[in-house]
């Protein structure tokens, strides 16, 4: 297989609305994750590690943080003459604008796709955090002689209720053909959940988009997987690796917390498959005398004088003397004042919590504090 034949497409704004707290100031792809990453680092690194030489990043709105993060694409080895990274904002040509769904989004970048010589297109969103080798998916795709391959994972749905599955559920037969697709159904028990990653022939993708977009169809899942499954050879590829799907603020919280289990950590960051991210050159993390840190992920540049238990601390977080941080996610440059106490709190970037302040929530319903918010001393 010639890898120069593959084009990667990442949709950085898909599912923005599901984590509206975090996407008010950024795209889904630029949400901070796991102490030092942004969600887009995972699909981008997966593509790079799979030898995909050219990646387009489709954005819609709020993309300044994304542009900042990606820069020239060097960190992901995508600052190259042949291929490399292409940022694809809306309104870049006459047909592109604020899309409603994947088909419209692709219509907006059709010239970019048509310009490529790739035979296959690998598409991924930023809502699934995992390590996956796309080469294997492409291999299966070719073996199955598929038009479209959808990556899915088995998932045991437990709490039934409205919006309990913000996922497309697939039925796959013994020959790996997708025989049905239902979108966001209420279900219980084990089901195949689409991970919003696809392999598709470039020509087929072009045809689908040129045909359905003018007719007003925006959703790929609805229009292709569901309505036109008979017209295409659609296959499923089961991803058996560890993954986290971010569907709302609590699944975001839990996905971070799950990394505190070293086994999960091991599965997420498999040996030899590094996840690349933008480098900021902070100093090492500093643990002052008297600090207590247990079962936590700590990024470089943190300075800890207080107590940090079961928490994820991003770059440059400062925890003052006597402060207690439990079950929290503290994003970049959060500052916790002396003797403050935080339980189950998610702080966005640059939050400042004053001295003696007490903020408690439960791990079932974490408290979110917006970017740049200052909470004065008590």
């Amino acid at each position: 297989m010639i890898y120069n034949n593959i084009l990667g497409l990442i949709f950085s704004n898909m599912h923005d609305e599901s984590v509206s707290e975090l996407t008010q100031v950024r795209t889904m792809g630029s949400i901070l994750f796991g102490g030092r990453y942004r969600l887009i680092d995972f699909p981008l690194s997966n593509m790079t590690n799979s030898g995909i030489p050219e990646v387009g990043v489709v954005t819609k709105s709020n993309y300044q943080s994304l542009l900042d993060h990606i820069g020239s694409g060097r960190e992901w080895d995508l600052c190259t003459k042949n291929g490399g990274i292409h940022l694809l904002p809306p309104f870049s040509h006459h047909k592109s604008g604020l899309y409603r769904g994947r088909i419209e989004a692709i219509e907006g970048i059709l010239p970019f796709i048509q310009h490529s010589n790739a035979e296959y297109v690998v598409m991924a969103d930023c809502d699934v955090v995992t390590t996956i080798d796309f080469r294997q998916v492409i291999r299966e795709h070719m073996k199955n002689d598929a038009d479209i391959t959808v990556v899915y994972a088995k998932h045991n749905f437990t709490n039934n209720g409205i919006g309990s599955t913000a996922s497309t559920i697939l039925e796959v037969d013994d020959e790996k053909r997708v025989i049905s697709a239902t979108i966001n159904p209420d279900i219980l028990g084990e089901a195949n959940r689409s991970l919003n990653m696809f392999v598709i022939g470039r020509r087929i993708l072009e045809k689908i988009v040129s045909r359905y977009a003018p007719e007003g169809f925006a959703s790929f899942d609805k229009q292709v997987l569901q309505q036109n499954k008979a017209n295409y050879r659609i296959c499923g590829y089961e991803h058996k690796g560890y993954y986290e799907k971010i569907e709302d603020i609590m699944s975001y919280y839990n996905a971070n917390m799950n990394l505190l289990n070293p086994e999960n950590m091991q599965k997420m960051f498999l040996n030899n498959t590094p996840i690349y991210t933008k480098v900021k050159d902070s100093g090492p993390a500093k643990y002052e005398a008297g600090s207590v840190v247990r079962n936590s992920l700590i990024a470089d540049g943190c300075v800890i004088e207080g107590e940090v238990i079961n928490s994820v601390l991003f770059r440059g977080v400062k925890v003052g003397k006597g402060a207690v941080v439990r079950n929290c996610i503290l994003m970049q440059n959060t500052q916790i004042g002396e003797d403050a106490e935080l339980h189950a709190v998610i702080t966005d970037k640059n939050v400042r919590v004053g001295r003696n302040k007490l903020l408690t929530a439960s791990t079932k319903n974490a408290l979110f504090i917006k970017k740049n918010q200052k909470i004065e001393d008590d």
Binding site: G34, G35, R36, R74, E75, L260, P262, M265, M268, F269, P274, I275, Y276, T277, V279, D281, S282, G283, P284, A285, K286, Y287, E288, A289, G290, S291, V292, V293, R294, N295, S296, L297, I298, A299, D300, G301, V303, V312
Partner: protein, 395 residues
């Protein structure tokens, strides 16, 4: 393409006094301070001082160093005009020769320097830890219409005999220079950082080359310029500076970071850049206890650590005690082991229940006490004891 000032970084020395740590890598490539290598300090200083053209002279065990520097991108030294250039010794029509001394190394690269046609060149060592704005030193050099400017540091009288010592008049003009004097006349020590007016240095390099001798800046060039009454000035530097040429001073410099007033790595206005290894964040386990220490990305810590520097990607298992030690990248310290006052080299594995080093007090203030050192990639088997001052492998 003209540059006002370019830097030449002497990185070819063997660093023989780092013994086990420089068996397979040049001294500037030796890891330092958690996520850095020694050479990050002069390279970052160059970038932060606005010097965008740096020649790195390599010779001894250059593989790690060359790999590490690469195209210079981590230090913003991958430039269209200028940037970092690795300059190994080379073959010419008239034969080939190694770099024989610091001055000879620059002499052999006159052609490189002339491509930039600089007014000034700054000559740097690759074995010092410090943060310094070279542009201020160049300004000083210009203001004094100097031919040569030597950065100096005030040291104690006891230390003075280890350095090149300068005596100055009231205008900072150097009137006397002695390498490692037995009876120092002053306490102004050369930091091994020189700014030269290129045209002048060029002349001296060529003369010195033909004169034979050790072809060294401290031993030949500076004394010759002084003898000819060239305008030579001392630029006084205040701040942290440490020669990490010995195992003990390397260990000590690491310990100095724990006291930020000595060496602050968190200054946003003077970042120290380094090549990043793309490791996940550090995981601190349920049984960990970390006090007064630095820990880096990719570490997995579940033991007790006090007053130590844990470099990137180190594993510290449960029931491990580490005190006043330097654990270099990728090392693994297994359960039951105790490491005190020691340097553990890159990718070394310390098996279970090993004892390494001890504090000076524990040895009854033995005058022969020293830190224990494990080289890179060593495996220390279970139950082994490594005494204070002992080095593995023996070099």
């Amino acid at each position: 393409m003209k540059k006002e000032c370019i830097a030449m970084l002497l990185a070819g020395g063997q660093g023989s006094r780092l013994y086990a740590l420089t068996q397979k890598m040049a001294k500037p490539a030796v890891p330092f301070g958690g996520k850095y290598r020694i050479i990050d300090f002069p390279l970052s200083n160059c970038t932060n001082s606005g010097i965008d053209t740096v020649g790195v002279l390599t010779q001894y065990q250059p593989l790690e160093l060359n790999d590490y520097i690469g195209n210079g991108q981590p230090w913003d030294l991958d430039r269209l005009r200028g940037g970092v250039h690795i300059l190994p010794p080379y073959q010419t029509a008239s034969g080939s020769s190694w770099y024989e001394g610091t001055a000879n190394a620059i002499y052999q690269n006159i052609r490189f320097i002339e491509r930039y046609n600089p007014e000034y060149i700054i000559v740097l060592g690759g074995d010092h830890i410090y943060k310094m704005d070279y542009s201020k030193m160049v300004e000083f050099h210009k203001e004094h219409s100097a031919d040569a400017t030597i950065a100096v540091l005030n040291v104690t009288l006891e230390e003075a005999s280890r350095f090149g010592i300068m005596t100055c008049d009231s205008d900072f003009r150097v009137v006397d220079f002695t390498e490692k004097p037995k009876e120092p006349k002053s306490t102004l020590a050369s930091m091994g950082i020189y700014v030269f007016t290129w045209e002048k240095l060029r002349k001296y390099l060529i003369e010195n080359e033909n004169a034979g001798g050790s072809k060294d800046f401290g031993k030949d060039i500076i004394p010759a310029m002084l003898a000819n009454n060239e305008r030579m000035f001392a630029y006084s530097f205040e701040g942290y500076w440490k020669d990490v040429g010995t195992l003990y001073s390397l260990w000590e410099a690491n310990m100095d970071i724990l006291n930020a007033s000595d060496l602050n790595l968190y200054d946003q206005n003077w970042k120290i850049y380094s090549r990043n290894m793309s490791l996940p964040p550090q995981y601190i386990g349920p049984d960990a206890d970390i006090q007064d220490s630095l820990v880096c990305d990719g570490c997995n810590v579940n033991g007790s650590i006090t007053s130590s520097i844990i470099y990137s990607g180190v594993t510290v298992e449960k029931d491990v005690f580490i005190d006043h030690s330097v654990i270099m990248p990728g090392a693994v310290i297994k359960s039951g082991s105790v490491v005190k006052y020691a340097i553990i080299g890159e990718d070394s594995v310390i098996e279970n229940d090993v004892r390494i080093g001890a504090s000076k007090e524990e040895t009854g203030n033995d005058t022969k006490w020293d830190i224990a050192v494990i080289g890179h990639g060593e495996v220390i088997s279970s139950g082994v004891s490594v005494a204070p001052g002992q080095m593995i492998p023996v070099v």
